[in-house]
Symmetry: C2
Subunit: 246 residues, 2 copies
Amino acid sequence: MTTTGTTTRKQREIEAREQLILDIAARMLLERGYLGMTMDLVADATEYSKGTIYNHFSSKEELLAGLVAHTGMMRQEMFRRAAAFSGRPRERMTAIGAAIDLFVALHPEHFRAEQIVMADSIRHKVSPERQHAFVAAEQGCMEIVGGIVTDALRAGDLTLPDEVAPPALIFGLWTMSYGGHSIIEGKPTLAEMGIPDPHGALRRNQQAVMDGFGWAPLTHEWDYENTRAWVLQEVFPDEARDAGFI
Amino acid sequence: MTTTGTTTRKQREIEAREQLILDIAARMLLERGYLGMTMDLVADATEYSKGTIYNHFSSKEELLAGLVAHTGMMRQEMFRRAAAFSGRPRERMTAIGAAIDLFVALHPEHFRAEQIVMADSIRHKVSPERQHAFVAAEQGCMEIVGGIVTDALRAGDLTLPDEVAPPALIFGLWTMSYGGHSIIEGKPTLAEMGIPDPHGALRRNQQAVMDGFGWAPLTHEWDYENTRAWVLQEVFPDEARDAGFI
DNA sequence: CGCCATTATTGACGCAACGTCAGACACTGC
DNA sequence: GCAGTGTCTGACGTTGCGTCAATAATGGCG
């Protein structure tokens, strides 16, 4: 038998199968919810037996955690590309916002899986290694965004009061983004409540947070919707097309 | 047999039992999570049989929805009292923030139950009546907050740009609050990420949103932490004591 | 090529939890 | 006391998670 590099044919087969399981589980989670995603159905859909599925993921919780870790890494990669956008720090933060919107559109199962996995009762069944995988992705995103804030402080575009540390500002944008996408996903009646374009409202509110901390240039001095359009076109052309954003 | 008013002894017994079931289910949901809250255990803990539990709630999902409806009504009541605080509109909005913090501290199971119930796969198993119960509570809260924004606009404390409707501003505060409490609950490692006081950071960020829309008086012109302390003491003395806030 | 050791795969099985329902039970009016 | 009405019960059918003994595939070696 020949091997290519350091991986045998068998190892590559196993890796491909793991990807297949994740893809099918993701679709099933979206279409049928957590309870509707049964290990038997996953086994059937992949055309492997239950035992084989359990060789990859030792429990249903591990499989979910695998989903979160996988999409979490993709998110970090999208953050990295967004942060590399050349422009003023607040434009780069706007690019991060665009990246999140795209990410949510392309991987709508991520937040749902994350919410389930984060519940204590589920999380303590997940192996430390896999937990570390998605915690690291989260930390990575925080650090990327933290770098943008640092650049803004250095450039003099932003001056935070003493009682507000940079991570606290990031926390504000994070909470709004997280809550916004959770609510948009969970409440189909926002339009009846007077919010016909929740995604637009979310963007406008995130700009308001930055305005509130005096992060230059302010909303009325700069067209950040234009920056966003530019980011979608230049940084994420493929993703924006796939998500139907352009 | 004698009856008091329009309710028989039996009816009152049933009502008290429903309350008992809800209390025990809430505690169990908190301590053991959604999967750990089994109908058999609820039956055991209440010292009734499973059949009797199912006379009150026709499924586990209905029981969960019952929890959400129950605490949702309590939340609406707390919003009502907070909005009645006498002060400038932005102070009253700050009072709403304090009410939410107290509510989350006193009923930590609410958001968790709500997230579970809101997943499509669960929600479509819940009876329309009970769904209406908690949608109505949500709408009620929105209307109360909407009234405060309207007052602010009338008083001239707030002027929104054309593209931002009042519900869109409320949406911003809502998403931040929802996401904030979800994240605080779900991520035990915020301190390691540089956010040692997430509740404080959340409050500061919500004030930033209002600052961002120019809602007078701005943060640097008014001590809203002081307003909050006053609200806790005057409007919610009992709740603040129970939650350990004062 | 044929043989055996090792590894991978399978699906029937044990167990736990949801929801049901036939029968036991309690209460009321006569 | 007794019939009738409404309430309560827990054993049972079903489904889904996770296991493991049996089976199949793989690969090294004479």
